[in-house]
């Protein structure tokens, strides 16, 4: 039977190469299908990896308390918009009253340009306290130092800059103890943060600068919103969250009937949201691209019907010479599978090449499972779309087939 397998392989390849144009056009459908499915899968997996990397800064044991919930669900946006501000003083109170809180850092944020002589970079800057480093493990001072409590209290004009800012303003010198300007205010650079990369490959987490909260408050008053980054000392995030919620309700003096007028966010909500989005985008994407594969499969089926019709006489001859139904079925099935397999390999190769190109702009890498899966998928499509035409060929009556003109 193995001999027959090679024979069928030989016949099918012969037939594919004998009708080059037709084979190429037919295979194109599968090539496009496999290409899009594989590419879609590659992008989603790239997105996944990026997400995980980006989320490293948002550890699960960090809560972010702000005026709004990140994902508000059914809470009205205007209701959230009109909630009272999160105040810096809450940080102290929270740390005092909670048994689960290890460190709290208020963070305020705004955008603006940072300048040095004729160089400038559009960036974001934060005001926060020295505790910040405890609440964000991916923030690490690479060069110089972070600011101190004293600098925070006195509102010193010192700045810890991100890697991108350092690159832009100090291309070939050490930024430490040099001065930069934000608006009309002059700052001394005291530290450079280690690079953290891009968030979801979209915007750089290194294009930022951090100043003491005291300084920020003085210069920018109460503009901008404050978020409290809360580092927990437990993995039991749910209990901690409950406790923090209770303390916050006390701070806010909320009656039991009143709803929370603050939002406690954590990375898992972001993750859950991301997963939902991924499922929606990925699911729809895979579904739509899978449709193109189905269209490709229909093309194969169509051309296989033509091939069987065209070779009716050949089928008759083969049957007269002793081919059984199974042998004829195998011959045509092999042809359909071979077209799909070749097309699948080509499509996967193209997807691999494209993913390398895309990788330059957006992180993507083809997982090996996906590559194997897409090849397997094209073989399955070959079998499925070849089955009916091959069965028809196998069932032909030899006498009718021999007489067929």
């Amino acid at each position: 039977m193995l001999g027959l397998f090679w024979e069928n392989l030989r016949i099918s390849l012969g037939s594919i190469f004998a009708n080059k144009t037709r084979s190429i056009l037919t295979a194109l459908g599968i090539v496009i299908g496999v290409l899009s499915v594989t590419l879609m899968g590659t992008l989603i997996s790239g997105l996944d990896r990026t997400f995980e990397k980006s989320m490293a800064g948002f550890r699960s044991d960090v809560l972010m308390i702000s005026r709004m919930e990140w994902f508000s669900g059914d809470t009205d946006w205007w209701e959230m918009r009109n909630r009272p501000r999160i105040r810096e003083e809450y940080a102290e109170k929270l740390l005092d009253r909670s048994q689960f809180v290890e460190a709290v850092a208020p963070v305020s944020e705004r955008g603006g340009s940072i300048m040095r002589d004729d160089k400038r970079i559009d960036s974001r800057f934060f005001g926060t306290t020295p505790n910040y480093l405890q609440t964000n493990i991916s923030a690490e001072v690479e060069n110089g130092r972070f600011f101190t409590d004293g600098e925070n209290r006195s509102g010193a004009r010192v700045l810890v800059i991100g890697g991108d800012v350092a690159d832009a303003l100090f291309p070939d010198e050490d930024p430490i103890d040099k001065y930069v300007k934000i608006g009309n205010y002059k700052f001394r650079v005291i530290g450079v943060l280690k690079k953290m990369g891009k968030f979801m490959g979209l915007f750089s987490m290194d294009n930022q600068a951090t100043m003491p909260f005291g300084t920020y408050k003085r210069l920018y008053a109460r503009r901008g919103w404050t978020t409290l980054r809360v580092k927990l000392n437990t993995k039991d995030v749910d209990s901690a969250k409950e406790e923090v919620q209770g303390i916050f309700r006390q701070i806010r003096r909320l009656k039991p009937t009143e709803k929370d007028n603050f939002g406690i966010n954590q990375s898992s909500t972001l993750e859950a949201q991301y997963k939902a989005i991924k499922l929606a985008i990925g699911g729809t994407g895979i579904f739509i691209t899978a449709l193109s594969l189905i269209v490709g499969g229909i093309g194969i089926m169509n051309i296989m019907f033509v091939s069987v019709k065209e070779r009716t006489r050949e089928i008759g001859v083969r049957k007269a010479l002793g081919a059984t139904q199974t042998m004829i079925l195998g011959q045509f099935l092999m042809e359909a599978v071979m077209i799909c397999l070749i097309a699948g390999l080509v499509g996967m190769g193209m997807a691999y090449g494209l993913s390398m190109v895309i990788n330059k702009f957006f992180p993507s890498a083809m997982p090996i499972g996906l590559a194997v899966g897409s090849i397997l998928l094209s073989v399955i499509i070959g079998v499925v779309s070849g089955l009916v035409p091959s069965y028809r060929a196998a069932r032909l009556d030899p006498i009718d087939a021999l007489r067929y003109e």
Binding site: G3, R313, V317, R318, K319, A320, L321, G322, Q325, L402
Partner: protein, 234 residues
């Protein structure tokens, strides 16, 4: 000696648009080893149906068909394919070669279905082609061969599995007279070498090669004549 082929009470009826066509309507026939038979008759007499029946391409509606002791009328499709492969060599009027395959590959086909190893296949296919005088044209495709040569490839293909009978359906029908004579010479020679040959033809001079002529009319055997002399081969 046991009969090679024995047909008794063979009927083959077709239902064509509600009307029953009796293509074969009670045929009794026995064929012995090494007979040289021609089947004749006007069109519609049932020649082709009888040939398909003997060639195990078709099964009878009614009757008993025994081929070397095997009961063909009871066989399913796979068994029929197997008996065609092992015991019957077909030669068609229109050659029916695979157009994209070389002469050698064409002759190999029955051996492929007999699941014979590649080296033995090539060996036997070459021998068969040499037997029909085509050793020089083995690697040519059908469109590079003359009509006579194509039919010789077809004969080689019919021979290659060492069949019990060779069934030739109008083997010279598509050939010029010179090629036709060549083909008949080859068939005569095969007969002299001990092969059993059944010719279907409507040409008297082709039928004259045979030792026994069966005339069909309206799905029945009209007469079954044994010509006295046995042909002397070339």
């Amino acid at each position: 000696m046991a009969d090679l082929i024995s047909l008794s009470g063979i009927k083959r009826h077709y239902d064509v648009g509600g009307e029953v066509v009796r293509a074969l309507d009670g045929v009794d026939l026995t064929i012995q080893q090494n007979e040289y038979i021609s089947i004749m008759g006007p069109s519609g007499s049932g020649k082709s149906t009888l040939m398909n029946m003997i060639g195990c391409l078709d099964t009878p509606t009614e009757g008993i068909y025994e081929f070397e002791g095997e009961l063909v009328h009871e066989m399913d499709d796979n068994q029929l394919a197997s008996i065609r492969n092992r015991k019957i060599g077909f030669v068609f009027q229109t050659f029916n070669l695979l157009p994209k395959a070389t002469a050698l590959r064409n002759v190999e086909v029955p051996l492929i279905y007999a699941n014979i190893s590649r080296s033995e296949r090539i060996d036997r296919a070459k021998k068969a082609l040499i037997a029909v005088g085509l050793e020089e044209r083995m690697h040519h495709k059908p469109n590079e061969l003359s009509g006579g040569q194509r039919q010789r490839v077809a004969i080689a293909r019919a021979l290659v599995n060492d069949p019990s009978i060779i069934l030739a359906d109008e083997p010279t029908g598509n050939l010029d007279s010179k090629s036709g004579v060549e083909i008949m010479k080859i068939l005569d020679k095969l007969h002299n070498n001990g092969n059993t040959i059944i010719l279907v033809t409507h040409e008297e001079y082709i039928a004259d090669h045979a030792e026994r002529t069966i005339n069909l009319f309206d799905g029945k055997i009209k007469d079954d004549i044994r010509t006295a002399k046995r042909k002397v081969g070339t």
